[in-house]
């Protein structure tokens, strides 16, 4: 039955690992904004088309011309 000591030590260790992970996640600011990431996740479903870089450059040039 002395295995209980061992088992307890392991279970406490596992608990402590999760606890440290929790502290780390709070510290790195993961709980500062709890809404935006939930929306951001949905954007991954967007069907990404191949951008022709010319096209983008064209419009951004036009835009910057307009701005100037």
């Amino acid at each position: 039955m002395t295995i209980i000591y061992m088992l307890l030590a392991v279970s406490v260790l596992v608990a402590v690992i999760f606890f440290v992970a929790f502290i780390y996640s709070v510290k790195s600011g993961q709980y500062d904004d709890t809404y935006t990431p939930s929306v951001r996740m949905l954007f991954d479903d967007e069907l990404v088309k191949e951008y022709t870089s010319k096209k983008i450059n064209k419009t951004s040039k036009e835009l910057s011309k307009q701005i100037k």
């Binding site: 500062d32 096209k55 419009t59 835009l63 701005i67």
Partner: protein, 787 residues
Amino acid sequence: MEIKHQDKIFCCQGCKTVYEILHENDLTYYYDIQNAPGISPKEIEGKYDFLENESIVNKLLEFNDGGTQVVSFLIPSIHCSSCIWILENLNKLFPDVKSSQVNFPEKTVRITMAGSEKSLKNLVILLSRIGYEPYISLEDSEKKEKKKDRSLIYKLGIAGFAFGNIMFLSLPEYFVEYDFWLDKFKPFFRWIMFAFSLPVVFYSASGYFISAYKGLRSRILNIDVPIAIGIVALFVRSTLDIVMDWSTGLFDSLAGLLFLLLLRKFFQQRTYSYLSFERDYKSYFPIAVTRLTKNENDVDTEEQIEVNDVKKGDRLLIRNNEILPVDAILMKGKALIDYSFVTGEAEPIVKKSGDRLFAGGKQQSGNIEVSVLKPVSQSYLTQLWSNDVFQKDYKSSFQSITDGISRRFTAVLLTIAVVATTVWLFIDSAKAFEVFSAILIVACPCAIALAAPFTHGNLLRIYGRAKLYLKEAPVLEKMAKVDTIVFDKTGTLTTNQKNVVTYEGVELTQYEKELLTGTLRASNHPLSRSLYTILSNSNIQMPEEFHETIGKGIEGKYKKHTIRVGSYDFVDAGKRKDENESPNRTEVHISTNENYRGCFVFINEYRTGIKEVFEELQPKETVVLSGDNDGERAYLEKILPSGTAMYFRQKPDDKLNFIKNLQAEGKTVMMIGDGLNDAGALKQSDVGIAVAENTNVFTPACDGIMEAYQFPKIASFLELATRGRKIIIWAFMFSLFYNIIGLSFAVTGNLKPVVAAILMPLSSISIVVFTTMMTTRAGKKLKLEKN
């Protein structure tokens, strides 16, 4: 008005433009997320020239090493998931942007750029163009170290972690009387529990010890005193229990108690992160102004400088729709200044060259040139913030209902503990300590401490859904006691929109009407815009020639017909009649082909339901305090109940002192206002509520922000606060009942750890359920919540 384009419907031309830009870049997924997204952009004219000034740019940038810049903008128009999407895809529209991240609750976007300082201006212009205009104000020039206080989450996490683990370890002993193996492992289990409880007592509970100590030092028995006593008693008793091998200790109750107590703090802490309740003039004023300096050739050159650097004698150029940040003398141009936000005067004021202008006014017609009299910090308006009210924190001296009860409670508790222990010393002196500690433990007013925060927390949410955003829970208790309500007039009782009530004069022909609307359409003057929206149903004739005389009126020509719209002098070319012109009304006169036709009379539109609100608020005292002239006294007297006092031409200081005097008479005052002129009164009052047409725009420092259309519900809001108070008192009764049960166990010396472990969480949780149900019911009854 709907615009159709490629099978999609847009609310405005702006959205369509955005769509075209996005479509070309294959960013149309924006339109799959939400129907009809976007907001129409506003016009921009040289508004962001100040972003060419390097020192201003550097103040805005959070980080800059020449190659990479990081900047955060507050963008009030962020409102839906599509906004997040478009802002996080900025790099596809603007190549300098490397990445951008939106914080939706705070309505901010953090942008990383790889460009130069110059890209910032173009970036801001691009943002404005697609409808996400950043809000840049004087406040942004003062970099605040943003440190988020996350200690409460840590404390809560530790308490929860320890609670769960201790519970596991203590369970076996609760259910087994004697077991060989359990007996063998008992000491080991108990010392692990002890180890888990250490961070709970010394870290998680530290706030309660500090608060109790502070309370005792200032001779106040606040609720944290009995809580701290309870925690200490629990810990000392449990440690002794395991050291002397008496029992398993009450470590699980200790950790559970702290977990619940911290949880209530966490609930109470949640507020509306995108609203600011601490704003002063700084977030209303611009960050930069245009200074004019003469070069060697005696030609004016424009230069963008920081508002804080403006000195006496500087000449400034104020553009249309810009806010004047200093007291100044008008040098050139016709000024039409809208002071409604600053003084409460409803009408824009025409100023002539040489007139004195006060800080905070918004120029409404063309560009003007002014000479500075006093720098920003010394202007007539900003002086208000040097008043004592803004230095001291008056509200902290407020004694909450919980503190009031806890004072008596602690006294009674200590008496019971002492009496019971003395009695036990005679009966069975060995048990005396056990009884003493048990009383302190079981009477720990956990349920009492939870009653008010959970009631308040739920009430705050109900108010929030009803569009009254309160700053913090103590405001609710003060709201329940309010007996005097002071209203500002302009912007609070009236809306910002103007309505025509009458047309006086010769009836206009259909043709004249069409010409009038066409002419009005070309003008940007606020009165023209209002008149145009009212008349816009008729067929529009665009004038061939159009001329606007700033501060006077407009003239349109169409096929030999001339129409003049504007002030009486302008329209009638000086042939003034002897008629008495009332100074308190706003009139727009019209003449066609040099023949005087008549005038439209504007009056301030009062909010719907004012009469009812004032009647519902009886018998509480109601006062109207206005910065405006008394032109509408007669009208107000007619619609408001007879007891309503009215004061006009009140300066910001007068308002503040008026509130102070009421308080000196022992009244609890609620101030409802909107502008900077109310800032002092809002701060001084016990409850200051700012009314906002749009919660995105500036609101002065206050205890709560209310969406203007909820104005008719003010009486219900106050009633709900009163009911909330009653609910708290009921919850106190309820928890006292639990305390009596617990005490009866403790006094008789029968408090076993398992009883404490069941009784304490049970009382707390039932209190939470009770308060939540009762407040939701109250909200529904007052029709603030949907069924």
